[in-house]
């Protein structure tokens, strides 16, 4: 049962992160990332 929960959790986390990254890079494909003067 532990591994079933573990794998399901890993799957949900992966889907959330991939959706986040996908939306982020889809947006920034049109709008270049502007990090300003990044390092102090």
């Amino acid at each position: 049962m532990f591994w079933m929960l573990f794998l399901k959790a890993l799957g949900v986390i992966a889907v959330i992160v991939l959706i986040g990254e996908g939306v982020f890079w889809a947006y920034h494909a049109k709008h270049p990332i502007d990090d300003g003067d990044d390092e102090d």
Binding site: L5, I13, V17, F24
Partner: protein, 493 residues
Amino acid sequence: MRTDVIIMVLIYEVLVVIGIGVLLIIRDRKKNTGDSFAVAGRSMGFGLLVPTMTLTALGNPHIVGLFEMSYGMGAVALWFAFANTVHFVILCLCTGPWLRKMKVATVGEALDNLYGKKVGLGISCAMSGVTFGVLTVECQGVGIIINALTGWDLSIAIVVGGVFGMLYVLLAGMKQVGSVNMINLVILYIGIVAATICIAMTLGGGFDSVRAYYESDVTTRFMTNVFGTPSLWFSFALANIISVAFYGPISQANTQAPMSAKNTKMIRRALWIVAPINGLFGVFSVMLGLTARSIPEYAELGATSAAITMLVDRLPNWVCALLLASCMAACLSSFAMTSLGCGTMFGYDIFKGLYKPDATDKQVTLVIRIVVVVVCVAAISIAVGISSIIGAMNWVFAWIVPVFWLFLFGLFWKRSSKVAGWTLGITWIVNCLWSLTGLPALFGTTADAVPNGYVTLVVGLVCCIIGNLIVKGQPGLWSKRAKALQRQSISNA
């Protein structure tokens, strides 16, 4: 009481907390780095950033809170951990890099830049209250763990935990928390994995016997399903995503580590490590909570005590010591970051922002240290009386949800201090009415069925959109219009 276990844990905490603090103080005296205490001189590397971000959002609710929740509603409790994954996506890809780029020390300071002093101060005050609420919950968690594993009186356990929390942050600030977190994250995972393996070994058929227990009864079958039942998913899982995901990425405690990062790329990269480490921790807590409920002798103790008592009874001494050290480390880390968040807001937004604009970094650091002590003492004294942990956290988070919309619209669309003031005022009033009056009944529902996070999310969004459409305001700080105006003024000059 297991005296040998307590001694081992205390030695660990004292060595790590005080040892690293003293080392950093000696090193910083030589370097004299400006705003080092609150934002680590904005030089926090990847190795410190990842554990600090992970552990700030991995405290009492992930351990004691998930034990309780999984006992009552089953595996659907894992959605609290998944809600934190959504929070990390927004924090690492959006709000964290934005705040780092603005080079501010507090969220209030960022909103001050967008909407002016009054709104910034109002948000800082509300956020201080919310952060203090979280602090009391974290303090209670430390106390519950020490109490369960040592048998000490809960109030003594809370005082001992609170004193360690103060030491954790007081000695050297952000760098101290970051350095200690790196060690604690490793110990935390070793502790919870070892405890889960040991508990599985004490069960006749391993965790499959737990599954068999729940699936043997129609009324408990849903408890092994991560998605639970539709009503549970709406009233718990989705509600958690809304309140955690819209509070976390804009809360002072969670944004303080990204604000201290060396650069914004590092914050974005951290997502791939922080999200799985934080999210998967919930699997261990939920599994232990479900196991405790499936054993009659622990099930009868109730949601709060079942899992912890099972661990104390069944774990060998060394695993018990490891677990106590790691759970304390996780709760202490959140406790420390939260108290540091309160102190930083007071030091920068109120002391430096209002009373002494020309204050030196040394004076601000002294004020932060004093506020950390004051809020920790207050949190310790209040912590004894709190009930449901995750319920309390969600109510507290709902207050900050409208701030997320203000931050987003203020950066990319339009900013007006009037709209910001009205949005906050209306949303906070509705939030109180939703909890304290019969308002939910007018909509044919209850406050439990539709938690406050939904209400503040919708009311905040509607107020922001309508207000910005009606009221004239300045263009968003990083909006296309603001950039065009900037370009125009440069070409005119």
